[in-house]
């Protein structure tokens, strides 16, 4: 049923469609970033599409690719009972030019998701009414879910107590170990991994 969505999308925005695939009933279309808003507007307002429900939006960092970031949008039509996953790619290797037009004017629910994508990935949404950080605090520098953000770098809001102040060692006490956390998450992504 929903293959029709991809077909209609192909017919209407054939030049803006980079690739499509559908698997297990999930249809995905990757579109050019500069047509993002037009395509979203059409999906929302066209009577045959009628994607009236915004489901999810997130950013993905592929540090080896260019453009580097993918923004993924999930839509559902309550009326037509079909779904689509729309992706687009923005930003260069340094994360510059990671900008996309906001779709909050079609789906009010996109507001906080765009803020989250901005907060975690640093994808800027042009035309967003209030693009502030949503999870991290305003003093936070950088975007923590980018692969080049150091995994263990914290940015405390208040200075930690020093050991002189406390009068005792502040390392992890037994039975807690230094590697109490996720050791696998502590790897830092590097552009050219050393041959091993």
């Amino acid at each position: 049923m929903s293959l029709r969505v991809l077909e209609r999308l192909q017919a209407k925005f054939g030049d803006a469609l980079l690739e499509t695939h559908s698997q297990c009933g999930d249809d995905t279309a990757v579109v050019r970033a500069d047509r993002w808003r037009d395509i979203c507007e059409w999906l929302r307002n066209d009577p045959a599409m009628a994607f009236d429900m915004f489901v999810d939006m997130c950013g993905v960092d592929y540090p080896d690719r260019e453009p580097r970031f993918e923004v993924v949008l999930h839509l559902y039509s309550v009326e037509k009972r079909h779904r689509i996953r729309l992706k687009t790619r923005v930003g260069d290797a340094e994360g510059a030019g990671a900008e996309l037009e906001s779709v909050t004017s079609f789906w009010a629910g996109a507001d906080w998701f765009e803020r989250e994508t901005w907060d975690m990935m640093g994808v800027k949404f042009i035309g967003h009414p209030d693009l502030r950080r949503i999870l991290m605090y305003p003093e936070f520098e950088g975007h923590p879910l980018r692969k080049d953000y150091p995994a263990q770098l914290t940015q405390p809001l208040i200075p930690y107590r020093t050991e002189e102040e406390a009068g005792l060692p502040l390392g992890k006490l037994a039975p807690f170990r230094d590697d109490e956390g996720m050791a696998f998450g502590r790897r830092t992504w590097t552009k050219d991994p050393e041959p091993s």
């Binding site: 605090y137 263990q152 405390p156 107590r161 006490l173 037994a174 807690f176 109490e180 996720m182 502590r186």
Partner: protein
């Protein structure tokens, strides 16, 4: 009040220790410690899933009231014991510090669960790696979440420390090492296997 008639009915007067005729001596510190350890007013700073275990602890099955520590005060100015229950994110750290600073002396802090004690597996940009990085902590209770028995152990450890006037941090030791139990089960299985093999 210090006098009782003998149950034998021979009108002898029995003097009780601690009454006008007898007396008890104690050090003021010990007396204050004894008074404090059974009148802990708690301020629950509950931020995460450990809160569920905290509810179990406060309800009738485990009944923290037995230890004189059940009265919650939702104003830090009226409480003695700060329960930090759950993950403290970097964003919450200033709030926790402020709550601690508002409490009256003498004040005690109990880190409930691994996250509050050392950050747990949140070893990344979001989380304070242990509340002792921002406020002094008296007792750590490991566990994810800790069992109510472990928390009661922690509370009793804290009461012991209060009575002794000891402010060095303490950690609740596990009552039983699950890994050790596993080893003994394996040993038992192994021995029963060889036994069966022999009988065949």
């Amino acid at each position: 009040m210090g006098e009782l008639t003998s149950p034998a009915g021979d009108n002898r007067i029995i003097a009780l220790e601690g009454s006008e005729s007898g007396f008890a001596t104690t050090k003021l510190d010990a007396l204050l410690g004894w008074a404090r350890k059974y009148s802990l007013f708690m301020y629950p700073f509950v931020t995460a899933c450990c809160g569920m275990e905290f509810m179990a602890l406060s309800s009738s099955r485990f009944d923290i009231s037995r230890f004189g520590a059940e009265a919650p005060r939702f104003s830090p100015r009226q409480s003695d014991l700060l329960w930090v229950v759950g993950t403290i994110s970097q964003r919450q750290a200033p709030v926790l510090r402020r709550i601690y600073e508002q409490m009256m002396e003498p004040k005690y802090v109990l880190a409930f669960g691994t996250c509050a004690s050392c950050g747990g597996f949140y070893d990344n940009y979001t989380t304070v790696p242990g509340i002792d990085k921002i406020i002094p902590t008296d007792v750590y209770v490991p566990g994810c979440p800790p069992r109510p028995e472990a928390v009661l152990d922690g509370l009793m450890l804290l009461q012991d420390k209060i009575a002794r006037g000891d402010r060095t941090p303490g950690i609740v030791k596990p009552r039983q090492d699950p890994a050790e139990a596993l080893v003994s089960i394996r040993k038992r299985d192994k021995s029963s296997d060889t036994h069966e093999g022999g009988s065949r």
